[in-house]
Amino acid sequence: MSATILGLTGALLVGIGLFGLIVHPTALRKLLAFNLVGAGVFLIFGVVARRAAAAGLPGDPVPQAIVITGIVVAFAATALAATLLARLSEPGEQP
């Protein structure tokens, strides 16, 4: 039951994040929104893992490992976007 609640939370995060990703004009806020969607998706993976608890494990390790990989990838994406943003915010530089 607690997993279901958190799964629904994940779905809400996805929805809220997607809304932000669409309507926010500034890139930084879009980036935040993307991280929200990502968090929601990972949470859903976590719920999938928790529901699949078996063999004495509190959750299925495969989706958990996938989330760990996914978090690192999402971080790399955020860093890339942040660098682009920082460069674009530099005033008037036109190489």
Partner: protein, 548 residues
Amino acid sequence: MTRLLIAASFALPLALAAAALWPAMRGRLLALLPVAPLPALAAAILAPGGSLVLTPDPLRLTLALDTPGAMLLGASALLWCAAGAYAASYLATSPRRTAFAVWWLLTMAGSLGLCLVADMTSFYLFFTVASLAAYGLVAHEATPTAQRASLVYMALALLGEAFLLLAFVMMAIGVPGGGNPSIAQAVAGVATSPFRDTILALLVLGFGLKMGLVPLHVWMPLAHPVAPMPASAVLSGIVVKAGVIGLIRFLPFGAPLGGWGEALIILGLFTAFYAVAIGLTQPHPKVVLAYSTVSQMGVVAAIAGAGLVSDSNATPVLVAFYALHHMLVKGALFLGVGVIAAAGGPSARPVFVVMAALALALAGLPFTSGALAKYAVKDLFGNGIAALAATLSATGSTLLMLHFLRRLSRLSASDIEVRPPAGLLLPFLATAAASFLVACLLLPSTGTPYAAVFAPEALWKASWPMLLGAALALALRRSALRMPSIPEGDLIVLAARLVPAIRRLADAADRMDETLRSWPVAGALLLLLLLGLGAAMQLSAGFHPVGG
């Protein structure tokens, strides 16, 4: 040896065109134009009946040379040769002569290859090469008129190819084994194909566009006159014959086709008279000649239609023979216009006489190729109303050609001392002579004896429509009827009205893209697509909740 000749027919022009990549060759290319068609000429004379399979199954690229193919191949090679020599002189100082030569050679390769191929893909290949490369010839002068003409040409040529491609695909579907069938195999299945009527309609549209059947003729009076003189000659003489070859190869002669033969006769004869009527209103001799080509191609289409109706096996040869006559005569006429323009006063007069003979040959003047061609095909039409209309088309031609000669007489150079250069005169005379000689030589292959053509009865049959035409021309002149002024390409004016609408459509596309590329819209569409596709997938799978 013959195989080599067949392959070299289009390989040599292609090789010469490719040589333009090599700077040292570029300057010499124009002078080499008359040489390029020589293998084709040799092949037409030496190799009829030969065939050559370039690649085995499943590609099946095949070349073959039958009698109609050889006729058209030989005649086109002759005209390419003469017009090439003419061009070498006519364009010797043009700054764009290399580009001209490349387009010329590519068009040549396409049109010559078209007479030789026996499989569907290769036919489409050469058809495309011929019609797209001719774009370069139309656009050569780079004037606004030429730009407009080449744009219209291009649009309609591409449309024609699209029709043909669809028709070919539908024909190939019926052939067992699929892949790239030979034309003969594919044509054999047309009559029983479920798509029969669509295929025939698309074929007539595609080839009719190339031949200029009304109302698909609008590009021809724009495109042919704007090209340089030798290019006009090959465009009107040879390139339009791509459509004729198409009809010869792709119409299922000898199979019951309920109504298609009659439809083609009506379309052809309507074109023949319509083009005369519009042509009479045109002031420029080259435009008049272009309308004459439209009219004559209408006659060719009617011949093909009559062949379908009468179920005659000889139809392909007869159509080819008529096309051959028109090819050489029309080529000579266009070349001659250039000669007249370069000749002053006295020197223009003998040229004018030859031009008159050629012009009236189109109407079937006795002792010209026209008389032979018209006599050879007359039996196809039988004795009904179609035969009468076909005969009367000669009257129309006479009218149009007399109009052409009147217009031509005003064209000669103002300086009476000017003499036409030999580089223009000789190719012109050679073509004119060839038009008669070749037709005479090939007459037996159509199954018509010489004696019949020159019998007095035949002479009278050829003459009375012309006399009627001459009388009409005289009456027309006396009546002082003012000809309405109709722009070149007549119906294109209607299409021109669509231009603003098309522009608005394109602007709308621009704006639509702009909207779609705004982030919130694209994002909302992303979600919409997600929900829509998801819903569609659920609905199409039927709703099965997860069970057990």
